[in-house]
């Protein structure tokens, strides 16, 4: 296997709050291979966006990066100065933000917002043709060149963000819930667009979301996050066929089916206070299979080649329903 | 063209020139004070405040008939308007007739002429005769002599003829003075010397030294003080004594009327407390007298004026020219003491049936002895004086309260209609060289009921009764006597006994103005040592001041 294009080791991002630190992203590690799409899933608040901002070094007060290492293309990102790192942003590491609806400057034309990132990183503003080429790549009509964000629909804005992300041929694109706010039809169009440019440009991608259905459609590997920790990483086929962690199982099984009506899985319990994670397994308060061993630390371990999991009962529970 | 600072004299202007393009002085506004009647328009005579004499200017003299109903004025030969036309009797007759015929021109001088003159006639080019409606020995000084502030100014017939005097703007203006109008904006007016001035040609007087005269709006005491310190101003309007000392400390070239404390020059209008004689309990002369006893004039001088003026001894302005009359009153025993005699005042109040209540205030029939004193809020000098009077009255047992009102309201609604119990005023103002102008303002002929406007703001105290009638009889007699008649001082003293007994108003203090004058560029300013006239440079007699200025160093 070649060297991963992006490698994250022990990343910790904490938010200070009046009642102590929120361990929003706590000691996560993963690799992103060249040309691969990695899905990062987890329920709302599990720290997906926070992990992204940690990688992009965009954690602002009250948050802070409490530790960890990020290597991009063999370069240690943590060691770079702010100014150096700024130059790496977008040219190597682009972001399709969560909520593209609000991610475009309302008082700037679409074209200008694409142009300014190109100008900043290459020194020259792109000509009209280049911008239109980008529009075409994501299936946007030419007429939006002169338009302002509010004149576009949500799906179009999302695609503008995609166009912007690929403008500089970055090495890695992080798509943070690029489609969750959209209708299914539009979501499908946007997802397809994303897949198309990814394949055309050969970029590596991290796709963040909580919709397992969409993940099944789009990604090569999946990392499951729960309460700031990654609990399982597996190739997408393995993940759906043989999820190793009870939480992964729940995620997969709670996707309602369109083909058969069956009683739904009900999981009870409330996620722990993110400031006070329990000792040992992070999921123990909601896990249906909890036992005494769960209070011991649960390191990630290889279940089978390519599939790692943080559960001491993984083998034992395999095949069991939640 | 530029004129060097050392050839320029800069006077202070304490208000905006609202309408710098209009030189029709018959309509109200600042159409004269910004240099027009100080440099461009000359008066016929100028009253000398030191000697009481009328110095001839555009006129050379006058004669009156026996009963002072007809006056003949002789004009100076060789006077020219700045456009070269001769100034002569036609101009005088034209201008006076204009005032007589046009009731809508409302300036005070025009109204006065209208009230006094029956007709005017030219005798020859340099002689004019006025027929008056009533005898008035003071006709010339009142109308043409710069008695106070201005005089009736003669306008050029050849420019004004055919114009509507109510609306004519008279721009560009011309005059007979040694300066012509150069430019004006709302905050300054510039006048440049006319080297072809008639006075120099005829030998009447040399050309004045300043090549340029500027009247500059300064924007308040602080800025005028700063301008004075930085030599950007040659003569400033009134400042407080502390301010003057601060200026002088920073710029030793700045002087005032007196070289030492109290620095200030006296103003022709002495301050007084007007008492409405129709309102109980102040309709009782004894009560008014009691107030007079209670007031401590020296405290007013010390606090409100910081010692820059003196307590009034009589109703008159204490100029040298008034000395004979003041002395006569004092000799007769009617002069006022500088300090109070509170006990005497309280005795009078108690005699009138009042007794002191628990809170130290007099009471009668369950009523407190109280008084509202109206005061014009336009100046802190006024309000401070009344603050002190109020304090003094309160301490003596009279519940006094000051009621400050705005200038226009004070003069338009309060004073003339008698809508006050007591008020701060300077209504005995008028006499500067003879006593009638002031005394004539309290005669019974001017008494009207409260709520009607008292004619000419005279006797707003509505003083009537036997004493007032006796007083009026003497004063009316005085009215027809020629100026300087030796009978007059005696008559003043005789009339004054009634004033003293009844006190329709209580003289407080002399008014003073502290005008800083800068000797950095110019010397020859009017001062107590160099008393060619008084120093109010916004008056029509400023011609004299400018002629007296000499380049410093």
């Amino acid at each position: 296997m070649s060297e991963p294009v992006l490698s994250v080791r022990g990343l910790k991002v904490y938010y200070a709050t009046p009642d102590g630190d929120v361990l929003a992203t706590d000691d996560i590690s993963f690799d992103l291979e060249r040309g691969e799409t990695l899905g990062l899933v987890g329920e709302s608040g599990s720290g997906k966006t926070t992990a992204t901002s940690g990688i992009l070094r965009m954690v602002s007060s009250p948050g802070r990066i409490a530790g960890g290492r990020v290597t991009l293309d063999g370069e240690d990102m943590i060691a770079l100065s702010d100014e150096e790192f700024r130059k790496r942003r977008w040219s190597k590491l682009a972001l399709i933000p969560q909520g593209a609806m609000n991610s475009l400057n309302p008082t700037m034309k679409i074209s200008a917002q694409i142009a300014d990132v190109v100008r900043t990183h290459t020194g020259a503003a792109p000509d009209r043709a280049r911008v239109l080429e980008l529009f075409q790549m994501v299936g946007l009509p030419e007429r939006i060149y002169e338009m302002y964000p509010h004149e576009l629909s949500g799906g179009m804005k999302q695609r503008v963000c995609i166009a912007m992300a690929v403008a500089l041929n970055p090495t890695v694109i992080i798509a943070d819930e690029a489609t969750s706010a959209l209708d299914v039809v539009v979501q499908r169009v946007v997802a397809q667009t994303l897949a198309k440019v990814r394949d055309a440009l050969g970029v590596s991608m991290i796709m963040i979301g909580h919709d397992m259905g969409l993940m099944a459609q789009m990604v090569d590997r999946i990392a499951v996050m729960y309460a700031g920790k990654i609990v399982e990483i597996a190739p997408v086929a393995d993940m759906f066929a043989r999820p190793g962690h009870p939480y992964s199982k729940i995620l997969i099984e709670s996707v309602p089916s369109l083909t058969e009506r069956r009683p739904m899985k009900i999981t009870e319990g409330i996620t722990h206070d993110p400031r006070n994670p329990p000792e040992g397994c992070i999921f123990q308060l909601r896990c249906p299979h909890v036992n005494d061993g769960c209070t011991k630390p649960q390191p990630m371990r290889e279940l089978r080649p390519g599939q790692t999991v943080a559960c001491h009962r993984a083998e034992e529970l395999e095949g069991a329903h939640v | 063209q530029n004129v060097a600072r050392e050839d320029t004299v800069i006077f202070d202007l304490d208000r905006t020139i609202k309408d710098p393009d209009n030189f029709n002085w018959f309509t109200p506004g600042t159409k004269r004070m910004h240099g027009a009647h100080q440099t461009m328009w000359e008066p016929l005579f100028i009253l000398n405040y030191n000697t009481g004499a009328l110095d001839p200017w555009l006129a050379t003299g006058f004669e009156a008939n026996e009963d002072s109903t007809e006056f003949t004025l002789t004009l100076r030969d060789g006077v020219e308007w700045s456009d070269g036309e001769a100034f002569n009797a036609d101009d005088v007759v034209f201008t006076v007739n204009m005032a007589l015929e046009n009731e809508e021109i409302s300036s005070r001088e025009a109204s006065t002429i209208r009230a006094q003159v029956a007709s005017v006639e030219k005798v020859d080019d340099l002689t004019v005769t006025f027929a008056l409606k009533e005898p008035n020995p003071r006709f010339v000084v009142e109308n043409f002599g710069v008695r106070i502030f201005g005089s009736f100014l003669i306008m050029p017939e050849h420019v004004w003829n055919g114009e509507d005097p109510a609306t004519f703007a008279f721009n560009p203006p011309i005059g007979t003075g040694p300066y012509t109008f150069t430019s004006a904006a709302t905050n300054r007016a510039i006048w440049d010397r006319n080297d072809d001035w008639w006075g120099a040609k005829t030998g009447f007087m040399d050309l004045p030294e300043p090549q340029r005269v500027i009247f500059l709006e300064t924007g308040g005491a602080e800025s005028r003080a700063q301008l004075m310190v930085t030599n950007e101003l040659d003569a400033a309007q009134n400042v407080g004594v502390g301010t003057f000392e601060a200026i002088a400390a920073q710029n030793p070239n700045v002087i005032a009327w007196h070289s030492d404390y109290p620095y200030a020059a006296s103003d022709p209008c002495a301050r007084q407390l007007e008492i409405n004689t129709t309102v109980t309990p102040w309709d009782n002369p004894a009560m008014r007298k009691a107030v007079a006893h209670i007031i401590d004039r020296s405290q007013i001088v010390n606090v409100a004026y910081e010692g820059t003026t003196v307590p009034s001894e009589t109703m008159f302005a204490q100029y040298g020219s008034m000395a004979p009359f003041i002395d006569a009153v004092k000799e007769a025993g009617y002069g006022l003491p500088a300090t109070a005699d509170v006990a005497a005042g309280q005795a009078l109040i108690e005699e009138a049936g009042w007794t002191k209540g628990g809170d130290g205030i007099y009471e009668k029939d369950g009523q407190q002895l109280s008084v509202d004193i109206h005061v014009n809020s336009a100046s802190t000098e006024y309000t401070r004086t009344i603050d002190i009077v109020v304090e003094q009255l309160n301490r003596a047992g009279i519940a006094a309260k000051a009621v400050p009102v705005e200038n226009g309201v004070f003069w338009g609604e309060v004073l003339p209609f008698g809508k006050y119990e007591m008020s701060y005023s300077w209504l005995s103002c008028g006499s500067v060289n003879e006593p009638w102008a002031s005394m004539g303002r309290y005669t019974v002929s001017d008494v009207v009921p409260v709520g009607e406007r008292s004619p000419g703001f005279n006797n707003t105290a509505r003083w009537s009764g036997d004493a007032a009638a006796a007083y009026s009889a003497i004063v009316d007699q005085m009215a027809d006597l020629t100026l300087g008649d030796p009978e007059i001082p005696g008559m003043v003293a005789e009339a004054y006994q009634h004033l003293d007994a009844e006190m329709p108003f209580i003289p407080l203090v002399q008014a003073a103005k502290l005008l800083p004058m800068n000797t950095t560029y110019w010397t020859g300013w009017p001062t107590a040592e160099n008393y060619y006239n008084h120093p109010f440079f916004w008056w029509n007699h400023t011609h004299q001041i400018i002629h007296n200025l000499e380049k410093a160093g």
């Binding site: 299914v184 039809v185 397809q192 099944a216 369109l258 | -």
Partner: protein
């Protein structure tokens, strides 16, 4: 029609000018019967008029034309007093469970309000019992939640409490506007389960508004699909979803990502330039600009709902027009 609980007749809602404004809901007729409680799903993409319908039924807005009858009263013209009485019968659960709580008060406030205003009980212990019972119905206990502030609860708990609140009023109908779209996948099931239990055990009908077809399939008895304010297809949920007949509904169902990496999307769909055909002037089928089967006749008039299957399965598309009778 005395057996109709809720009866909508040609209900139309236009925002703005009645002639040129935006038709949020186009002449909808719908009946929910008294005798058999059911979950009626209202589905469609964003902006298709689902919430408008919910608000009309709840009396928050009044229809531009048409009538909404509830058990004999005209909801569109109800007085304030009638409205209060009406709300005893019809309750709601909204999309954003957090927004439904006044942040100033403890959770108990939502119950107190109902009890006080509807005079459900004047006795404290009785009231407490009612709350407890309602909370138990959604799997919670009063001690757990009533003294807490809303932000101290999880999203799922908040939404279940809202269900409990609606249930406590013992209404005949609950309008649930996207009750699970802001709740995590893992908690979704429990809320939908509550809905089904309330239907079965409490005899309460639901107007279940959602854009998520899979949950509609799981819990819905009947489904109505909207496109830009018009009803395009309706019928039994299982019928419609497993066998959609309207091109839009087909596209919709095809676009739902399948949670199976081996069954990825086939083919590519293209969205034409968005163009809304929903001013009051618009005629014809609203789906024309995106429809692969569009034909000139589609734009002429709004197609009626043709019968396309058993048990009242109907679709408003001329593809299903019965062949003209000879």
């Amino acid at each position: 029609m005395s057996d109709a609980l809720l009866d909508l007749r040609d209900v139309r809602k236009v925002y703005g000018d009645p002639d040129t404004g935006l038709v949020a809901l186009n002449d909808l007729s719908l009946t929910i019967r008294k005798d058999e409680p059911e979950i009626v799903t209202i589905a469609g993409e964003s902006g298709s008029g689902k919430s408008t319908l919910a608000n009309l039924v709840l009396g928050f807005t009044r229809p531009t034309s048409g009538q909404i009858m509830f058990d004999g009263t005209d909801v569109g013209n109800a007085s304030a007093k009638q409205m209060k009485a009406y709300h005893r019968q019809v309750q709601a659960v909204f999309q954003d469970p957090f927004g439904s709580y006044n942040p100033f008060y403890r959770v108990g406030h939502v119950f107190d309000m109902v009890i006080r205003n509807f005079k459900l009980s004047s006795n404290k212990t009785e009231a407490r019992q009612m709350m407890e019972e309602a909370l138990n119905a959604v799997g919670l206990t009063g001690d757990d939640v009533l003294r807490k502030y809303p932000h101290q609860l999880s999203g799922g708990q908040r939404q279940r409490i809202m269900m409990a609140r609606a249930y406590m009023v013992k209404p005949r109908l609950i309008v649930a506007d996207e009750p699970v779209s802001m709740v995590d996948a893992s908690l979704r099931a429990s809320i939908l389960d509550v809905m089904m239990r309330l239907r079965d055990e409490g005899g309460i009908s639901f107007l279940y508004v959602t854009h998520d077809l899979s949950t509609a399939y799981q819990v819905g008895d009947r489904i109505l699909l909207f496109y830009q304010g018009t009803l395009v297809e309706h019928g039994k949920a299982t019928d419609v979803i497993s066998n959609p007949q309207h091109p839009y509904v087909q596209l919709l169902i095809d676009s739902v990502p399948k949670p199976d990496p081996t069954q990825r999307w086939q083919g590519e769909i293209i969205l034409p330039a968005e163009e809304e055909l929903r001013t009051a002037h618009s005629t014809g089928c609203r789906f024309v600009p995106r429809c692969p089967h569009a034909q000139p006749a589609c734009s002429a008039a709004l197609p009626p709902a043709y019968e396309v299957g058993p048990r009242g399965h109907r679709a408003a598309c001329i593809l299903h027009a019965p062949p003209p009778q000879a």
